[in-house]
Symmetry: C2
Subunit: 250 residues, 2 copies
DNA sequence: CGTGGTCGACTACCATACAAGTGCACCAGC
DNA sequence: GCTGGTGCACTTGTATGGTAGTCGACCACG
């Protein structure tokens, strides 16, 4: 993913800096290119991206609002550790919204919608064939978004997206589960099948099962990588990293 | 509500300026003290509040993210008009989350919870007696928040709160519905009763009816005050207000 | 009287400067 | 060697410049 160059190019072409920086950091955090606990100095980021502190700072404020970074005034800004309570909360929100949307989708779905969804499924199988997990997750996102659009509440995807960010961040730790992709696709297909049948109960079961599978993934990961999580009661105030060697390579 | 003085005092005592300005503007927008379409100049606000533009600007960015203001670069920042599609979206989100929470609340509710909820109901009747709608809406907020807390997903209230903001803003237009308060309290009581019985189906019906009543209020209001709403397809680019008379009183 | 171009005031965006606070490293004293 | 105090480097928060862009009023011109 283009980081510095891409931003500078986009900046030249137009589009305001704040949004670009925001999206850049957001994707980097979700993809774990920026690990939980990493310090995000406003000055350093500004220098690296060749912009001033202002848009960087404003981006960090937005990310704080999304729960992706923690700001400790006069101490530092850090990529948020994954709090398990946040995961649970995100799962609840996502599940509640997607399930509610599904219930309405069953009554509104058109043949055209089914066709579109199946096209996405096909693309997912394609990505699976190429073992392109990056593309797969992109398509996964599109699939769920489209599902909400079918319900007539596409606007609410924005909220799901924010909750999903927390889940995805944890899920990225388990990327080498390539065989899982097949299962996920089958579950997606299940949902579409039941939707096409207008079978509400079965559709609900299928989607619920799918969403819960994702959660159970996260729980497995937590057992393997406890250092990236923070316990719920102790906020884990990060300490400034001691820099004894002044000459660090870049 | 203290606006300038309160802010300056709080600022002196501590607490960062951005949050204070943010909360101030937020409540003023929701209470319609700042009407939809009003221009919010960074300079003017900064001057009025006796702070610099920075915290004001950062607050406006957050409010933009919440959908309470619209920023048109190089043109101006305006209190967002109430888009009906936003209302529908907010209603969907709120309903989905509160209903999902209720379903879990039925299985977890304790006698202590019921007691607490009934205490809130009592306070609401009190507020009704004093015809103190302001206090009532405060308690209404607490009631619903507590309901979610009972479900074990109190964290999700934050999201509901953002959706609710859109609804409340429209609902404020109908404040003089004093007799309505009684109905609202009865509905609240219904929910608690069914919750105490652990009767899921009845509890769902009661809460759904309650949430839908609020929505229907909004629809009535839209018929009466169309100027505060903006149609869905036309974003209504606001024009800069023509100031021919330079000496406006303050 | 109607119309097109210019100018000025205002906007948000970005950059920079200053202030207040924190923790760590270092060093004096024990 | 160990401990306590002091200064420095670094942090975010706030204030203030500077810039490009947009709109509306005004005026010259037809």
């Amino acid at each position: 993913m283009a980081s510095k160059e891409g931003l500078q190019a986009a900046r030249a072409r137009g589009g305001n800096t704040r949004q670009l920086v925001h999206e850049l950091l957001r994707t980097q955090i979700i993809n774990l290119e920026l690990e939980p606990g990493t310090a995000l100095s406003e000055n350093d980021l500004a220098a690296e991206l060749s912009v001033s502190r202002t848009p960087v700072r404003e981006s960090l404020i937005l990310l704080t609002d999304e729960g992706l970074v923690d700001v400790y005034p006069q101490m530092g800004t850090f990529v948020a550790r994954i709090k398990f309570s946040d995961i649970a909360s995100a799962q609840f929100i996502r599940e509640a919204l997607e399930m509610a949307a599904l219930r309405e989708a069953v009554t509104r779905v058109t043949d055209r919608d089914v066709t579109d969804l199946r096209a996405l499924l096909s693309a997912q199988r394609d990505a699976e064939g190429r073992a392109d997990t990056e593309a797969f997750f992109q398509l996964d996102e599109e699939f769920h978004a489209r599902l909400m659009a079918v319900s007539g509440h596409g606007d609410a995807w924005r909220v799901v997206g924010q909750a999903k960010a927390q889940l995805d961040r944890a899920r990225r730790l388990s990327l080498p589960l390539t065989q899982q992709l097949h299962l996920l696709i089958r579950q997606h297909t299940d949902v579409v099948d039941r939707l096409e049948d207008r079978n509400l109960k079965r559709a609900e079961e299928a989607l619920r099962r799918h969403l819960r599978l994702v959660l159970s993934d996260v729980e497995k990961i937590r057992a393997r990588h406890p250092e990236l999580f923070s316990e719920d009661d102790v906020p884990v105030r990060p300490r400034r990293e001691t820099r004894r060697s002044p000459a660090q390579p870049r």
